[in-house]
């Protein structure tokens, strides 16, 4: 992959106004959650979820809490949608507008162009995920202040601020990887289909179908192989004791998915005639 091709792809992506629609949505979502939490603090108080004999002293809703609380609602549907829309347009969008033709008559390898687009897609997916975390921490600090990270999942786990911040950084890093896999899926579909919205729509639809199938007992045997089973592997970071073997297995499955999707995209993109 030529450096010029990568620079070109990043330049095209980040000079496009529509790329920042996702940023607005993410910042808006975090702001709404922070605002809502601030005004309904009593109902959101985590101490309501533990037995009455528990005494929880100090602040429970903190910047760290907000950064964790926005993860699942954003990363399960909203972020994949935003990432799929951008990544789905990276090839199909250029095919629709004819710029793919302008690009490919230059002396560039198609594989190089596709890999540059993949890196651009990853950068967007990763950047948006990290922006989610940074915005939540920033707004959370402004509204609630600093404090422990309180996790309510299968019990109550409390991390001190330092460890909580480390876990959040690790969790968001893994979430960024997961969104990168979503970008890979959308890009592969973008190489196959001529329409950007078709590629994005199919990517999101594929994830939803995979989630539904994974939730059905009948398809339990299929669950370990499904992409959606491993996309939420960042959750394991917030367990009191991290199961590194489980994390490694999910990472390996995600890597396998990426390799397969990139291979398919390279073959299709490399062989397809550019007729529009």
């Amino acid at each position: 992959m030529k450096a010029a091709v990568l620079r070109g792809e990043l330049s095209k992506l980040y000079r496009q106004r529509s790329t920042y629609a996702g940023v607005v949505v993410i910042v808006g979502l975090v702001a709404l959650v922070a605002w809502g939490s601030h005004h309904q603090r009593d109902r959101l108080d985590v101490t309501q979820a533990v037995p009455s004999e528990f005494v929880v002293a100090g602040k429970t809703i903190t910047a760290l809490f907000l950064a964790h609380a926005v993860m699942d609602p954003s990363l399960l549907v909203l972020m994949p949608l935003l990432v799929a829309v951008v990544a789905g347009g990276l090839v199909a969008g250029e095919r629709q507008t004819g710029t793919l033709r302008t690009l490919l008559v230059r002396p560039v390898r198609r594989s190089g162009v596709l890999l540059a687009k993949l890196v651009a897609g990853w950068s967007y997916a990763g950047g948006l995920t990290l922006l989610l975390g940074a915005t939540a921490l920033g707004l959370g600090q402004f509204v609630f202040g600093w404090g422990d990270l309180v996790i309510l999942r299968g019990g109550l786990t409390i991390f001190d601020p330092r460890l909580g911040l480390i876990r959040l950084a690790e969790g968001y890093a893994l979430a960024a990887v997961a969104m990168g896999v979503v970008a890979t899926l959308a890009l592969a579909l973008s190489a196959i289909f001529d329409n950007a919205m078709t590629a994005a729509g199919l990517a999101v639809a594929g994830l939803l179908v995979s989630s539904v199938v994974g939730a059905m007992p009948y398809f339990e045997w299929l669950r370990p192989y499904l992409l959606t089973t491993h996309l939420t592997f960042y959750r394991a970071i917030f367990d009191a004791t991290i199961d590194h073997a489980e994390l490694a297995l999910s990472a390996a499955w995600l890597a396998a998915w990426v390799v397969a999707l990139v291979a398919i995209a390279l073959v299709v993109f490399g062989r397809r005639d550019v007729t529009c």
């Binding site: 710029t99 690009l103 560039v108 390898r109 062989r271 550019v274």
Partner: protein, 324 residues
């Protein structure tokens, strides 16, 4: 056949099928170095598909093609030696003309800022260099398309309908620019429907019909070929035809109520005029008729249509027609 060393594009039996449709069907083409080559043909004849194959956008189904001595499968080895504008110019709408040129030229090894400025100046877009391309008219995009094809400084420029959408002034500028490129030693291969423009600018032409080259040659030779003609405006066309038919080797026909046209391999207009006058026909006007590229084109295309359709393409599903 031209020696390969003198040719920048050579195709032999080049073919492209889309399913059952033969878009290009055994195309043999030779484009001499330093020529300004006009590639002509009706809609759906296979011009754009040929250009797409030469520029690596489309894989041939069969046959061979060499560009600047390299097989098109190894086109990347040629680097920035080829510049191309394929069909409608397409650019990144949110980027300026300058940014588009910089981005595209960087993929061919990069250019100095002065070269981008020169290219924009050459196509008359200096004043709007930093405006987003999304605000450009079709003609402005066409000019920008030509500018990008000229960056960095290719040996061979392939242009698909370069004057499409331009106003008369723009077309004249493109014509001057093409002539200038040839003077600078570039070979220009262009497809066009504008036969008069091609006749004025090109040194060589090829006519493609039903996916095959049906005629090609130097423009000068092409225009000298065919039987020369002369038109007489007369008071009695019937008597004029009788006189002209009586001359050995001359064919004649009445074009309207006052005009007859005589054709012969060797035509002496003065002698024919003298015969007409002696026969009592009053001649008020004598107009020599020379062969035009349009007549050459139409003859070639019509001849291909009347030939046996052994290799004729099957009905198009529209995929090719939309590309032309």
């Amino acid at each position: 056949m031209m020696a390969a060393a003198e040719a920048v594009i050579v195709t032999r039996g080049l073919s492209k099928r889309y399913g059952r449709v033969r878009a290009v069907d055994g195309l043999d083409l030779t484009v001499p170095r330093g020529s300004l080559f006009g590639f002509l043909g009706p809609n759906g004849a296979g011009k754009s598909t040929t250009i797409r194959m030469l520029t690596g956008l489309v894989r041939p189904s069969a046959g061979e093609a060499q560009v600047l001595g390299a097989p098109i499968a190894r086109r990347l080895a040629l680097g920035a030696r080829i510049g191309a504008l394929v069909e409608e110019p397409a650019f990144y709408r949110h980027l300026s003309a300058w940014q588009n040129l910089g981005l595209l030229a960087s993929l061919s090894g990069g250019v100095a800022r002065a070269q981008i400025a020169d290219a924009l100046e050459a196509v008359g877009l200096s004043d709007v260099a930093h405006r987003a391309v999304g605000t450009f008219s079709h003609g402005m995009k066409q000019r920008l398309g030509i500018a990008q094809a000229l960056l960095p400084r290719p040996e061979l420029v392939i242009l698909d309908e370069p004057a499409s959408g331009l106003d008369p002034e723009g077309m004249a500028e493109v014509r001057e620019m093409l002539l200038g490129l040839r003077e600078r030693g570039m070979t220009v291969f262009l497809s066009s429907h504008l036969l008069a423009e091609v006749e004025q600018t090109c040194t060589h032409v090829a006519v493609v019909a039903r996916g095959q080259v049906v005629a090609q040659g130097e423009v000068g030779e092409v225009l000298q070929g065919g039987a020369p003609g002369v038109r007489f405006v007369v008071d009695d066309p019937e008597r004029a035809l009788v006189v002209l038919h009586g001359v050995e080797g001359v064919s004649a026909e009445a074009l309207d109520g006052r005009t007859v046209e005589a054709r012969a391999d060797r035509l002496d207009a003065a002698a024919l005029n003298e015969m007409l006058v002696r026969a009592g026909v009053r001649v008020s006007e004598i107009v020599p008729r020379r062969r035009t590229l349009e007549s050459y084109y139409l003859e070639a295309v019509h001849a291909s249509v009347t030939q046996p359709a052994a290799t004729a393409p099957e009905p198009s599903d529209g995929s090719e027609a939309s590309n032309e």
